[in-house]
Amino acid sequence: MAGGAQRRKRGRKALAAIVFAVLGRGLVACVRLDERVRADVRGWPEGTVVTLRIAPTGPQVSWRSADGALRYLGGRDVASDLLVTFKSVDGALPVLLGIKPVLRSFAEHRAVVRGDLTLAMSLVRCLHIVEGYLFPDLMTRRILPHPATRRASHATAYVFCLFRTASLDGGTA
């Protein structure tokens, strides 16, 4: 049924938008929590805007680098320096839900990249670390290239994601 298929697709997009929101805050939190992410983000040119998007019309999530930290820009339209576009929501969800490794999705051409590919490698390293905080070891064993090591507990990471976003958004540290 066409209507049912449309509804399911809308549902998948809504789910992707939720994951993007968590991931968006998660990455910002990880810059604070984890020196490995901090080191990578410090290497990004000041003001770099990075976006993950699902074609053709979103949802999407963006960050902007500022003073060695990241600012969460949410799902609004921005001019991106690095734009990673998943070709479809169906190609994106397994990655976003921690079922498929990020690198495998690139290998399978599920996403295209516009911008500096070195920056894309740095983003992937950061996402791997964020996944280590967001997902349990049972999942990360299958999707990460190395066993996840954390500088703080899952719980701390979630607290940072959920309750300290405002101050992190301000880029105070």
Partner: protein, 393 residues
Amino acid sequence: MIPDYYEFCNSAKVVSGKGAIENLGFELAALGASRPLVLTNAQLLELKIATIVIDALADTDAEVVAVYDDVPVDSSVAVVNDVARVFSEKGADAIVAVGGGSVLDTAKGAAIVLTHGGDLMDHRGAESLMGRRAVAFIAVPTTAGTGSEVTSAAVIKDTERHVKMGFTALSLLPDVAVLDGRMTVKLPPRLTASTAMDALTHAVESFSCVQANPLSDCYARAAIGLVREHLPEVLDHPKAHAPRLALANAALLAGVAFSNAMVGIVHAMGHAAGGVAGVPHGDAMAILLPHGMVFNLPVAGDRYGELLLDLAGAEVYASTPADERAAAAIDAVRAMTRMLHERAGLPLTLCEAGVLPEQVPDIARAALDDGALSMNPRQPTYEELVEILKAAL
């Protein structure tokens, strides 16, 4: 083994063999073009290699509107923009690129500028360029190594902004790839060996990378077999056209394989060693390939075992127990690089290639940032990269 999902594209027409160059006029006409710009470098004109192409075109309906011979060793954005300018000014409708990797990459860059306009920098990325190419594009490789005549990738340097820009897009694939023994017959042994090891590495890496698929596997295996069989022959008889053509085919086959299945850790380290210490690409491949294979052995052993057939031949494959084939495949690669060391002076270690021990950390860090690493079947840590590079010193 069939992956859950894969993509494969090789849309370039291949014209290979005796008199292939003389068919350029027909191929241009078939593409609806008649005003080619010939892109090459001064050395190839001097050696009368590019001249073969220009002379052949003079004998056709096509009119060569410009010969652009100012392509430097590393393709740069300034040259790309200049080629695009000349192309437009002269009213050209096709690029015939005659040269090695840098000439072909420059042609790809110019095609991007001519099709999409603006700053080349804005078009960097992987598969992000949409739409058809605006100009016809024929590639005539003069080395048997990069496979650039059938790959959808290009690397172009921005010498002012000090960045290396990477591009992959199907619209970068040439319309036609022309292989002719005359184009590579003057390559000196050292360069022949180095470029052949680049081709071999494309084949071995693509066969063991995460995106290997049944189609790319065929190309990779055929490429390896041709290198094994014909590289010694080329060193014995450098002026003979037939083995040269076989090596050119090997490079093309390996190019198709890696354009689709990608390369891995050996290329990541090789790009880094090139950037940090100026090690020529083929030399880096020859030095690092066995070391990369040793690192990948725990996860790619079965695949390497399969490759023993192509790397060493049926007799060796059949007489080697299944559980020893992967190690034997690495030995076969080592034997080949040793042979090239003795016969063509190819370096066997990074030290011989001019790398200083204190450069290892920088090379390891640059390798971590290299896109090729992401397709390797086993992801190394920084420390592991340092260990591999030290072993290759």
